[in-house]
Amino acid sequence: MANEAANISLEGASAHRIEGGIDAIVIGAGVDSLAAAAYLGRAGLRTVLAGAGPEIGGRVAAREIAPGVEGIDGEHLITVLDPDVIADLDLYRHGLEFAARRLDTTYFFERGETLRFDGDLSYAAYTSLEDDDDREALEAFMSEVLETASFLRPAFVPGVYPGGDPQPQRTLEKALGQASPELMSRIRYFLAASAEDILRARFEDPQLCTLLLAETAFRSAAPPNEPFSFMSLIRRYAGEAAGLQGAAAYPKGGATAVVTALRRAAQAAKVDVRAGAPVKSILIEGDRVAGVALEDGGQIRAPIVVAALDAQQVFFDMIGPAGIDIGLQRALASARPEIATARMQIILKGVAQDEATQNNMMRRLLYAPPLEAITAAFIDARAGRVPQRVIVEAIFPTVLDEGASLDKRQVMSVMAHPLPADEAPDAKRREQIRSAVFDSIEMFAAGFSGRIEADDLWLVSDEAVALKSGIGAYAAKPNVLKQWALASAATSAGEINGLFFCGPEAQIGPGLSCAAGRAAAKAALRAFKRGAP
């Protein structure tokens, strides 16, 4: 009995504890929070990372998808992981390693044709095409797109933070100001025109047009026939994987390996990583943050708060609508999600018999439905219907990563797009989505359904439940102009000094990036130095 009484009094004590002497608090346990915390810790700030759940990793998390088989939610490839984060935080030294880099892509088309692209896009034209005109067209296109994408890279990192910090703007102006008039007119064209217009004008060959349209539309909520839609391809090709622009790589241990490396980097930087410490509200005093209040009643006080949860939670739940400006409120309210990507992990019985299949299992596979089917899919998904055909990206982690291999079974990891962004899909809806994904996979892997041992469908609504957020933040991103508007509204954070936002709305484009976390931490450091005695 005495022990029990002691416990109660201890809990009571913690409920009123106010912790001081902290320089920065990072809210959230995803990759951007870990990266931001590591940056702050390395700069010598006493940093606490307060994550809500018991697990660190956020949306990138391992989960048992069938008895004895673990799958990874969130992301299955590295395509846009910020190279500065890898270098600054020494992620390779902290254990990041690639099991497969420079993944080739095999494209599958409606009538069973295939086309292979080299993992290095600047060589794609040489390895896959026989017709000279097509080769020339693709080579010219890729060099223009890769050049434009790498030039625009700074534009895909948020740069507006509270406190009137002029540096990101200066850096951006310097970078973009170097554009030649030709490059600038190309950028304007790529920005404002639709993907369909651009690609149809460039390629006589319907396959090239179709596959590039599928790449552009994949994971984007912008229908490819609408203005500003082409930029999603530019955003994707602005990224790099394992040091190669526009490439895709598979990390040893899957995407959670990035989480592990980031966590090690954060701990090496003396960040106090607290997993089960949900934040209840952000404390605002006057026009600046003062710290956070925890769910258990305690408080941590600090002049810097970096928030890496979704904007809805940060601004409405933790600050409250009264504390944020009308522009941000409107931006958040108008960002109604319509389209989402589904994740599916499928366990297949048996091993590949023929060599072609074996080779393909070591690549990234992309099913590119015909143009008309992609158009129809976007119209259906936006109207809340499950499309007949969807774009499917598939990889085999058990083949790419020796450490993940299973006995006489394979895991196929799939992303399918576009699908309606359902708030709470019922069983019937899930079944519709499941069979739409299967039908699209059948288009390139005939007879695969017969080998399914188990499958696991992970929708945006599942992700939202796991992260206790709305579906908005994790649905597919709209066109780049809307993303820029939303990101800058969110990162300027209603001009609350000391608050730095790097949640999913701050990131331009999908994928595991950490660029928003890096930018927020850098801005926080400058603010801290300005404010430091």
Binding site: E173, G177, E196, G327, R330, W484, A485
Partner: protein, 447 residues
């Protein structure tokens, strides 16, 4: 006819003629190629001639009378019609008289829309821009207010209207009138800019009286007086020579050289095969690919009564708010849409002119694309007749004669394939003003 020109302007509509005359007056050498017209017809209302064009063309010296369209009216399936007027205050008063609370916001809406359209910063950093460089893009990216404006202006018309209004009929009315010109859907990216265009004072439409000269006839005189060269009607080929000049060959083996080929409206471009829809290699299709415009001219029996008793308005027929987007989706997919949004008006000679831009450029059937056939024209004519009858009981029995016209891209190779000297202006409310501004912009660039 031989020679070298700064502009070859193709098209016989008011915007093309005004652009040709304005270019000559500004010192350019201009050739104008107009399609052959079988006979003169009573014209539809045209966009305003803004003051700067009026002055440049010295239209006061010509016997031109124009009168504004009386109102924009939308006829719903089972709700009272909705009316807006040219003046902002008059519209607000009309809305108030209709008991619509949104009248309080109409003025703000109109002011904001004209403000957005005038904000060169946004359009220049994002869309066209003569001065735009990397710095102006960077400046926009660093300015959340500018980005918010840009995203709204280039966003969807539905989101924009929901920012201002409650009344569903008003939202549908404004969207229908704004988008009928371009045939866009109201949730489509970029459709919001049509709202800004619609509210632009240069976008209100005007007619010339029945007994006076038509605007087109006057502009033709202006072109002649100013010294525009008239080229033959049909282009056979356009080939780029030394990157800056296109050699254009007409039927009859005549050839000219032109630095720029301008289509002031997509109709002319479609007719000439320069802007393709689905089929092969859609080119120059910004805001244009994937749709056709269908027009029907009805000669009616005496005593045909206009809806709401107003013979001088422009009318829209629409059933549901979602129809604009559904019709647009159908057009993109190459299908006909039954509840077709239809715009109509009465020409000065009493004919009823009906049109819809929510039609496919080509049809998609059994996995194949095909061009328009006589059957398609009949099918669309009867849809349009039904739509008109639904709003004007007994309409069908008043029809004495009807003529149809479809503006869709022809099938097959285009004479403009590979020619990058071509500019096509999308379908706009302020077509005349925009065409002249485009000419000025190109001349200012000094290419």
């Amino acid at each position: 006819m031989n020679g070298q020109f700064d502009f070859l302007i193709i098209g016989g509509d008011e915007a093309s003629l005004a652009a040709a005359a304005a270019a000559v007056k500004a010192g350019a050498r201009v050739a104008l190629s107009r399609p052959v017209e079988r006979k003169k017809r009573s014209p539809a209302a045209s966009p305003t001639i803004p003051n700067f064009v009026w002055r440049r063309l010295e239209l006061q010296d010509y016997d031109l009378t124009v009168e504004p369209v009386s109102a924009r009216i939308t006829l719903f399936a089972d709700a009272p019609p909705m009316t807006t007027l040219r003046g902002v205050r008059e519209t607000a008063d009309t809305l108030a008289a209709d008991g619509i609370n949104d009248h309080l916001l109409w003025r703000d809406f109109a002011a904001d829309m004209t403000g957005l359209a005038d904000d060169g910063f946004i359009t220049e950093a994002v869309a066209k821009g003569k001065k735009a460089n990397g710095k102006s893009l960077a400046a926009m990216l660093g300015d959340p207010v500018a980005l918010d404006k840009a995203a709204r202006f280039h966003g969807s018309s539905r989101a924009m209207l929901e920012d201002y209004f409650e009344e569903g009929r008003l939202k549908t009315h404004v969207a229908a009138h704004a988008l009928s010109v371009s045939g866009l859907g109201d949730t489509e990216t970029g459709s919001a800019s049509a709202l800004a265009e619609l509210l632009d004072p240069d976008a209100w439409r005007y007619r010339t009286p029945k007994d006076g000269p038509s605007l087109r006839a006057v502009l033709e005189c202006v072109c002649q007086d100013a010294g525009v060269d008239f080229a033959p009607p049909k282009v056979i080929s356009a080939v780029v020579q030394n990157a800056k000049v296109a050699v254009v060959e007409f039927s009859g083996e005549e050839k000219i050289k032109a630095s720029h080929i301008l289509f002031a409206t997509p109709d002319a471009a479609l007719a000439a095969g320069a802007a393709k829809g689905h089929g092969d290699g859609a080119r120059g299709g910004l805001g244009n690919a994937g749709r056709a415009q269908f027009r029907v001219r009805f000669r009616l029996a005496e005593g045909a009564e206009p809806p709401a008793g107003d013979r001088k308005a422009i009318f829209q027929i629409i059933d549901h708010a979602a129809d604009l987007q559904d019709a647009r989706d159908a057009a993109i997919q190459g299908r006909l849409f039954d509840r077709l949004p239809v715009e109509f008006e009465f020409a000065p000679n009493g004919e009823l002119l009906a049109r819809s831009t929510y039609l496919p450029a080509a049809f998609h059937e059994d996995g194949e694309w095909r061009g328009w056939t006589g059957q398609d024209r009949q099918a669309v004519s009867s849809i349009i007749k039904e739509r008109l009858s639904s709003r004007m009981p007994g309409f069908a029995s008043l029809i004495r004669r009807m003529e149809t016209e479809v503006v869709a891209p022809p099938y097959g190779a285009s004479p403009f394939d590979g020619c990058d000297r071509v500019m096509i202006q999308p379908r706009r409310h302020d077509a005349i003003s925009a065409a002249v501004k485009l000419i000025d912009e190109v001349m200012a660039r000094g290419e």
